[in-house]
Symmetry: none
Subunit: 225 residues, 2 copies
DNA sequence: CGGAAAACCACATCATCATGCGATTGATTG
DNA sequence: CAATCAATCGCATGATGATGTGGTTTTCCG
């Protein structure tokens, strides 16, 4: 059940994905190699048994996607992801694991993993997962996705206040939260300084605040932005 | 609290998934009906144009899965999910929407939605999404899954950057985040305005920012306060 | 003891923000 | 068609913030 798969036709124009695999289990490396070689748009650059030198591996081979086992002796897969993230902010990393416990999932996501596939579904899900991650998605085995959802605050029963900010105002507020000065905002949106002032005053009125710091704080805490 | 996953066996035994659809757009209801009728294991119980009476609909028709449009006049799809959850803790609800903004996703998940599919991918993803949700998974369009991941605490690579703020500085920053002006901070801590300035300047240096809004934003996002 | 760091204060200056009072345009709507 | 509203812009003024330079006192630690 590769629930996240999209029709192959969506990817006809996609260039080949160069893949780098890390797993200490030789049998799995071999079967994964076979699996990947079945797809013409997937190319396995290499299959390493340890992520000890993951960053230099990347520098040498320039993969588009990393497949990373989570349970490896020596260096943990989660640690490896952290190292990758320190070197490359965006390189997609799909975790492969037999476990789908909350602890592992949480750690992997926080470390910066892009996807999380259980090995028992790997043969069905890996090819589409690679395509998903290449197009900016986050492939997850169904049960993992469910657990990820449960990590989000569910208590949120209380009503979210509606401040009724206009689209433009929300945009301004977003920039304010990102630390932009009025001048920078004006330049960014191609509007005059006075217009920025005008918008921000209205935002303050709607949020019932009187300063940028209050607005920023409220915006973040109430998830307006 | 690890009874997170649904009892899978409850659903695996079922031959056919009985589906109930809510969407105010008639064209979409018709095309969805056609899509579902293509699969022998999927059965559309009904296609409603409003979730006004969703709970009594469920009591009458006993669906296995709900497909719920998020943007409907009258009653919002998210509200409908809350009503469903108040009646049935586990009944799978898959949200259908054209938007994948954070606000909508977050609200839907918090309300208790089990999946989140963008309409532009609906024809390809719905059948497998229904099967996924029936077996306890959480089907999501790739881009949605990515955004869900981003909602989780991004501890990121370096455990937690240490800005080495002194105790007093952290205190000042806390007040700044709470929207206090320099004057108010001084009054609160019984120190002079110039001392407040002095402290805040040092905080800015340590956080590598140049304005209160940047400091507040960083403080909240990096959980310094 | 001596040095470092934290917390405190003062003065000065320029930049930026907060606020109020208008005013124009275009799109939407009853 | 009139009314509303979002978005734009201008001017003016006082308040507040950002930055620099320099200083004192206390506390803590090797």
């Amino acid at each position: 059940m590769n629930n996240l798969s999209l029709p192959v036709t969506d990817y006809l124009e996609m260039e080949t994905a160069n893949i780098l695999l890390y797993d200490d289990n030789e049998a799995l490396r071999i079967s994964m190699e076979a699996l990947i070689s079945e797809s013409v748009d997937l190319n396995l650059l290499g299959a390493m048994h340890t992520p000890q030198n993951v960053v230099s591996d990347i520098q040498t081979l320039h993969p588009d996607v990393i497949l990373m086992d989570i349970d490896m002796p020596g260096m943990n897969g989660v640690e490896a992801v952290k190292n990758i993230r320190a070197y490359d902010e965006k390189l997609p990393v799909i975790m492969l694991t037999v476990f789908d416990d909350n602890e592992n999932i949480f750690n992997a996501i926080c470390a910066g993993a892009s996807g999380y596939i259980l090995k028992r579904y790997a043969s069905e899900e890996i090819p589409s997962a690679i395509r998903t991650v290449m197009s900016g998605g986050a492939p997850m085995t169904g049960s993992v996705a469910r657990k990820v959802l449960q990590m989000l605050p569910t208590a949120k029963s209380e009503e979210q206040e509606d401040y009724k900010l206009s689209k433009r105002e929300t945009e301004l507020l977003q920039l304010l939260v990102n630390g932009f000065s009025y001048k920078m905002i004006g330049y960014e949106l191609n509007i005059s300084l006075d217009t920025v002032r005008s918008h921000i005053k209205k935002i303050y009125d709607k949020l019932h605040v009187h300063s940028a710091t209050e607005a920023v704080s409220l915006a973040i805490k109430k998830r307006i932005v």
